[in-house]
């Protein structure tokens, strides 16, 4: 038989333990209170709460803290998208520009047919595994895409597909630029680019031009013809390769035509608008004329001093640019 006294004593003692613990915690929460920025709480409420870590911070609360500390970009939350970015901006009092649509693109065009192999790899089917075995990769160009598809495997949106040619192909309509493949690529060959940009350099080799020519038929050889061909100064030299300046590039494609190696390419088969193209050509012709005139003037000024070098008129004819 159950003694009712036992029941009462149990309930009472358990209740008192509970009340004592509650009192302790209540007191402690008062006594050990840590002053936190109220904005952090507000941000945590806004964030999706998936704790995916896509922003690069430990969970949504870590991201909220980083936002308040000014260490994180307002737009860094991929799952939240533009909506959440706007709300975050409202809490932090920062203006949030509509995030331009972005996509990822592969900075390599060294298909199996054109990029020379360095070693034969027959191991585990993963770029990361390959680089563990052979840190320089399996192609002659150390910055060549291995084509084992680490990026394809991590893509959550089915925007990447391994092509027949051994390079991953991006479906720019499906790509959300979440950056999973950017981090998955052990060679960092995938770049996030504005969707609107139509030309880009599909090569990231750091080999000297001479070696690059040996390693790959479509390597950037640092000839700078593209820079000279651009009438809008939309390409700048970073020391090894051209870099597009997004707010200057109009997508006329003159650089694509100028590139002898075919590594400056149109994204998703874009075709430059005829008007833009014609205008750019006019601009370039004007520039060349001005340049030629300036050169001729300089030569004319320099010519009288030495005793008439014979090749002066010949060097003027075909513009080397």
């Amino acid at each position: 038989m159950i003694d009712p006294q036992v029941v009462i004593v149990s309930a009472a003692s358990l209740g008192s333990v509970g009340i004592a613990s509650a009192a302790l915690l209540a007191g402690a929460s008062r006594f050990f209170k840590v002053e936190t920025d109220p904005r952090v709480e507000a941000l945590i409420a806004i964030l999706p709460g998936a704790n995916c870590g896509g922003c690069g911070f430990p969970g949504c609360s870590g991201f909220a803290q980083a936002l308040v500390d000014g260490k994180a970009e307002v737009t860094a939350c991929s799952p939240g998208g533009a909506d959440v970015a706007k709300q975050i901006g409202a809490v932090l009092g920062r203006e949030v520009a509509d995030r331009a649509r972005a996509v990822v693109r592969l900075r390599c065009s060294g298909t199996r047919a054109v990029a020379a192999p360095r070693v034969e790899y027959g191991g585990v089917d993963s770029c990361r595994a390959l680089l563990l075995v052979s840190p320089a990769g399996s192609k002659a160009c150390p910055r060549g895409c291995e084509g084992l598809g680490d990026c394809v495997r991590v893509c959550l949106f089915g925007a990447l597909r391994m092509g027949e040619n051994g390079l991953p192909a991006v479906d720019e309509q499906k790509c959300t630029a979440c950056g999973q493949c950017v981090t998955a690529c052990p060679k960092h060959l995938i770049a996030i680019e504005p969707y609107d940009s139509t030309v880009f350099l599909a090569c990231s080799t750091d080999l000297a031009p001479k070696d690059a020519r040996q390693a790959c038929q479509v390597a950037c050889l640092a000839c700078r013809l593209c820079l000279k061909a651009c009438p809008h100064d939309a390409l700048v030299w970073d020391g090894r390769r051209p870099v597009r300046v997004d707010d200057k590039c109009v997508g006329c494609g003159l650089c694509v035509d100028a590139c002898k190696q075919g590594v400056l390419v149109y994204a998703r088969g874009a075709v430059p608008e005829p008007g833009v193209r014609a205008q750019a050509e006019r601009l370039l012709a004007e520039r060349k004329a001005v340049e030629a005139a300036r050169k001729a003037a300089a030569k004319a000024a320099a010519a009288p001093q030495p005793a008439a070098p014979p090749e002066t008129p010949a060097g003027d004819g075909p513009a080397p640019a």
Binding site: V9, S10, S13, L14, V17, G18, S21, A22, L24, L25, A28, S29, F32, K33, V34, P58, G59, V124, D125, S126, R128, A129, R153
Partner: protein, 196 residues
């Protein structure tokens, strides 16, 4: 003699009677927090801390309060209450006193507030009639054993994640369960090491 006995107890708790692999306690954090070695290490440290503190407090509570008042039968439910309150309390104190320690352990503490491994350590120490020192050593040993297995397992899982040879349907949790089974079989090899 005493020290040898305690060493035996530690070895027994870590290897032979391991919390996860022999007693099936704390499976939830074992599977949940073993994706990365770093987080496994953080979790292990938090577990060592909480189990040791909780077992000691519970032992004191049992022998100074519950037993004298003939309330020994209430120990399970009282321990649950006390451990939950204790972990919350410790979390608050750490947050105030050492923000850097809180950064390292903070996210793991709430996860083990009501974990069965913590309760198990406290209850088993009572069931086995351990004295105070033995309880302390037993709690320390078994939580270190938990941490060891957690870190080992995280290392294996990190490597498994790289290998695409794992069939697609086995990816993630299934292969983790298979792996833990094999790990448990391996730990069975320690069975005769120490007799308690």
């Amino acid at each position: 003699m005493e020290i040898a006995h305690y060493l035996q107890l530690v070895l027994w708790a870590i290897l032979v009677n391991n919390f996860v692999l022999a007693q099936f306690l704390g499976i939830c954090p074992f599977l949940g927090v073993s994706r990365k070695i770093e987080s496994a290490i953080g979790m292990s440290i938090a577990v060592v801390f909480v189990i040791t503190a909780a077992s000691v407090i519970c032992w004191l509570l049992y022998y100074t309060v519950l037993l004298p008042f003939h309330l020994g039968f209430l120990r399970t439910i009282v321990f649950i209450l006390v451990i939950a309150a204790l972990v919350q309390f410790v979390e608050m104190v750490i947050r105030k006193v050492s923000p850097s320690l809180f950064q390292a352990l903070g996210i793991y503490l709430p996860l083990i507030t009501t974990n069965c491994a913590v309760l198990g350590a406290a209850l088993l120490a009572i069931t086995k009639d351990f004295n105070f020192m033995k309880t302390l050593v037993y709690a320390l040993g078994s939580s270190i054993g938990f941490g060891l297995v957690l870190v080992l397992f995280a290392g294996i899982r990190q490597r498994l994640d790289i290998v695409p040879a794992v069939p697609r349907i086995l990816r993630g949790m299934p292969i983790a369960l298979v792996t833990s089974a094999i790990l448990a079989l391996a730990f069975l090899g320690f069975a005769g090491l120490v007799k308690m």
